[in-house]
C-alpha cells in the first residue's frame, strides 16, 4: 500500500492545483488522512477510483466541529512611566495577558476508501465546509461511488451538510417535516411534547385508589367508592 505522502504526490501530478493536505493522526492506529479542497474533490475522487483502484468506498460520515473559544496567555512587554518620590522613571514591564480568540467551526465529511482489486486500505479523505450556518455545501461523491448515496443522505439529515450533485438528497432517518439536525453538538432536544390524556388515566386513578386502600375492605368496595 502506498503511503499518504505518495498518494498526495500522485494526486498533485494528476490534478494540478488540487490542494491536498495531509492530516496527521496522533493515535496508534496510524490512519492518516488527506484533506481535499471541495472545488477539486470530484476530479480527485475520479482519479483515485480509476487510476489508483480505490474502487470501494466503505464508510462515509460527518463530524461537527463547533466554534471553539481558545484562551491563550501571552506575555506582553510594555513601557510604563512611574513616578516614584517625585522623580519620573521610565521602565519596561512584562505583564501576562489573557487573550480570547474564536476559532470558527465547520462541518466535516469523512470518507474511508478501500481497494477491492488490490486488497488495500483504508485511505481516509476529509472535506470541510466553510462554516456551520449558511455555507454548508460540499460536492457529492455519489456519482463516483454509489455507496455514498444513503450515507450522504444521512449526513444531510443528521448534520445538515448539503451535497451538491447528489441525485436524491432527502432526509434518511428523520421525517421530512423535521427542522433541526440532531447529530450537531449544539442540538437541543425539543421540550414541546403535548400532554394528551389517554384511556390509561381512568385506570391509573383506580389503581392509585387500590394502592392507597387500608387493608380492610376488598377491592370491589374500593372500586365502587372510586366510582361515586
Amino acid at each position: 500500500m502506498k503511503t499518504v505522502e505518495e498518494i498526495k504526490t500522485a494526486i498533485e501530478t494528476a490534478v494540478p492545483g488540487a490542494g491536498v493536505q495531509i492530516v496527521p493522526n496522533p493515535s496508534v492506529s496510524g490512519q492518516h488522512s488527506l484533506r481535499l479542497a471541495p472545488g477539486h474533490a470530484v476530479e480527485v475522487a475520479k482519479f483515485l477510483r480509476d487510476e489508483l483502484s480505490f474502487d470501494f468506498l466503505s464508510n462515509v460520515t460527518g463530524v461537527d466541529w463547533p466554534d471553539k473559544e481558545i484562551t491563550e496567555k501571552v506575555k506582553v512587554t510594555r513601557t510604563v512611566t512611574k513616578t516614584v518620590d517625585g522623580v519620573e522613571t521610565t521602565g519596561e514591564e512584562t505583564v501576562e495577558e489573557t487573550r480570547k480568540q474564536v476559532q470558527p467551526g465547520c462541518l466535516e465529511a469523512v470518507y474511508h476508501l478501500y481497494s477491492v482489486a488490490l486488497k488495500q486500505g483504508p485511505l481516509t479523505l476529509r472535506m470541510r465546509t466553510v462554516n456551520r450556518t449558511d455555507q454548508v455545501e460540499l460536492p457529492s461523491l455519489t456519482p463516483i461511488w454509489r455507496s455514498a448515496e444513503f450515507q450522504e443522505r444521512e449526513i444531510f439529515d443528521l448534520f445538515g451538510v448539503v451535497f451538491t450533485g447528489h441525485p436524491d438528497l432527502r432526509r434518511l432517518l428523520m421525517w421530512d417535516g423535521f427542522k433541526d439536525h440532531p447529530m450537531r453538538r449544539d442540538y437541543v432536544e425539543p421540550d414541546d411534547f403535548e400532554y394528551e390524556p389517554t384511556a390509561h388515566d381512568d385506570v391509573l386513578k383506580r389503581a392509585l385508589a387500590h394502592r392507597n386502600r387500608d387493608q380492610g375492605p376488598g377491592i370491589r368496595d374500593q372500586l365502587a367508592k372510586a366510582g361515586q
Binding site: 493515535s27 466503505s58 464508510n59 477491492v116 454509489r146
Partner: protein
C-alpha cells in the same frame, strides 16, 4: 467469473451514470399503481417500507424508506463513556450481538493499541463463527419462509439456532443481549464443560447443513423462484459498497477475514465461496457454503484453543481516556462489513462514534435488483439481502 481478484473488470472506464438504477418505462399508457409495502408487512423483518410503483405486476420504481426504528444510537454513544456503549451495540444487529461487540472492541483496540490475549482471540473466533452459523441458518429459513414454505425450513434453522443460543446463555448470561467482549479481551472465561458442550453442538452442525442442502438446494420450487431473479452485477456491487455474502454471491473474492486477517483468522484454513450467476439462488447457496466453512473454522479453533487469561488483569476498561486521535476498525460480520469509526479528543467519551451498518448500505442496490421483476419477487430479493432493522435505522 474468475475467482482471482485482479481480473475483475472493476475500475475500468464506464459510461456516465452506469451506477444509477436504469429508468424503466411502463408498457404503453398503462396507469401506474403505487403500493407502500410496509412498514407492517410480514416480509420486511421489522418496520421498513418500500414505496413501489407497479405496472401490472412489474416493478417500475422502488424507493426504500427508513427511520421507523431510529433512536440515534451514535448520539447516545457520544454522551457516555467508551464502555457504556458496549451493551448498546448488542441492539444494533440483534441476531448477531457477538460480532457487534467484537467490531466495537476491535475499533477501540485500534485506537488505544491494547493487546488481546490468545485465549480471548480464540474465544472471539469461536463465538463469531457460531454467530455466523446461526445467522446464516435463520437467513436461509426466513428466505424460504417468504417463498411460501411456511414453517418447516425455518423451524429446522431455529432448532439449530436454539442450541447455539443456549451456548451463548451459558457463557455470557444472555441469549441475545450478551455484552460479552471488552477492550483487550472478553468478560468471562469459558469453562471446560462449556467447550465440551460447544464441541458437541459443532459436531452436529455438518449434519444440519446437509439436511438443509438436501431439503432445499434441489427443490424445484426454490430453483424456479430464485434462479435468475434479482441479478446484481459485480462492478455495481463493489461500487455500491455491498459487502458480505451478497458481494461474494456476485463473484467478488473479498472476505475481510482473509483481507485484513484481523484477530487470528490467518491461522485457520478455510475457503471463500463465490457465486457465478449473481442471483438470489447464489446468495442462498453462498450462505449455505459459508456455514460449512464456519464449521471448519470452529473445529480448528476448538482443537487448538490454548489456556491462559482472557483479559489482561492490568487493563483499564472503565473510565479510560484514549489519547486524541481516530481509528476505523472493521470486521466481517455475518451481514457484511461492520465498521466502527471513533474520534477521541482525550476525554472519557468518544468525540465522534460512527457505526458503518452493512444492512443499510447493502440496501443501496435494492432498487437496481428489483426493477423489472415481479412484485412477488421483490419479497425474495429483499429477503436475500438479509437485513436487521435495528442496524439499518440505528
Amino acid at each position: 467469473m474468475s475467482s482471482s481478484a485482479t481480473d475483475t473488470s472493476i475500475g475500468l472506464a464506464k459510461p456516465e451514470g452506469w451506477n444509477r438504477p436504469p429508468v424503466i418505462e411502463p408498457d404503453g399508457d398503462a396507469e401506474l399503481l403505487e403500493v407502500a409495502m410496509g412498514p407492517h408487512h410480514p416480509s420486511t423483518h421489522g418496520v421498513f417500507r418500500m414505496d413501489v410503483a407497479l405496472d401490472g405486476e412489474r416493478v417500475i420504481r422502488l424507493k426504500p424508506v427508513f427511520g421507523y426504528l431510529h433512536r440515534n444510537h451514535e448520539k447516545i454513544a457520544e454522551g457516555i463513556g467508551y464502555l457504556g456503549s458496549m451493551p448498546f451495540t448488542d441492539r444494533l444487529d440483534y441476531i448477531c450481538p457477538l460480532t457487534n461487540n467484537w467490531a466495537y472492541a476491535l475499533a477501540v483496540e485500534k485506537l488505544t493499541g491494547q493487546e488481546v490475549p490468545e485465549r480471548a482471540e480464540y474465544l472471539r473466533v469461536i463465538l463469531g463463527e457460531l454467530t455466523r452459523v446461526q445467522n446464516h441458518a435463520s437467513a436461509i429459513g426466513f428466505l424460504i419462509q417468504e417463498m411460501g414454505a411456511s414453517g418447516t425450513p425455518l423451524m429446522y434453522a431455529f432448532r439449530e439456532r436454539e442450541k447455539i443460543l443456549d451456548l451463548f446463555e451459558e457463557l455470557t448470561g444472555a441469549r441475545m443481549m450478551v455484552n460479552y467482549m471488552r477492550f483487550g479481551g472478553c468478560r468471562v472465561d469459558a469453562s471446560p464443560a462449556w467447550l465440551d458442550a460447544t464441541r458437541k453442538v459443532v459436531a452436529g452442525l455438518p449434519g444440519f447443513a446437509d439436511e438443509m442442502d438436501r431439503l432445499l438446494s434441489g427443490s424445484e420450487i426454490v430453483m424456479a423462484r430464485t434462479q435468475g431473479v434479482g441479478i446484481l452485477r459485480p462492478e455495481l456491487a463493489v461500487n455500491a459498497g455491498v459487502t458480505g455474502p451478497m458481494l461474494r454471491a456476485s463473484g467478488i473474492n473479498y472476505d475481510i477475514r482473509k483481507v485484513d486477517g484481523y484477530g487470528i483468522y490467518n491461522r485457520f484454513n478455510f475457503r471463500v465461496p463465490l457465486g457465478d450467476h449473481w442471483d438470489v439462488y447464489d446468495r442462498y447457496m453462498i450462505r449455505l457454503l459459508e456455514m460449512r466453512e464456519s464449521i471448519k473454522i470452529l473445529e480448528q479453533a476448538l482443537k487448538d484453543i490454548p489456556g491462559g487469561p482472557v483479559m489482561d488483569p492490568k487493563a483499564k476498561i472503565r473510565g479510560f481516556r484514549p489519547k486524541p486521535g481516530e481509528a476505523y476498525g472493521r470486521i466481517e460480520s455475518p451481514k457484511g462489513e461492520l465498521g466502527f469509526y471513533l474520534i477521541s479528543d482525550g476525554g472519557p467519551n468518544p468525540y465522534r462514534y460512527r457505526v458503518r451498518p452493512p444492512s443499510l448500505i447493502n440496501l443501496t442496490v435494492l432498487e437496481d435488483m428489483a426493477l423489472g421483476e415481479n412484485v412477488a419477487d421483490v419479497v425474495l430479493i429483499f429477503g436475500s439481502v438479509d437485513i436487521v432493522l435495528g442496524e439499518v435505522d440505528r
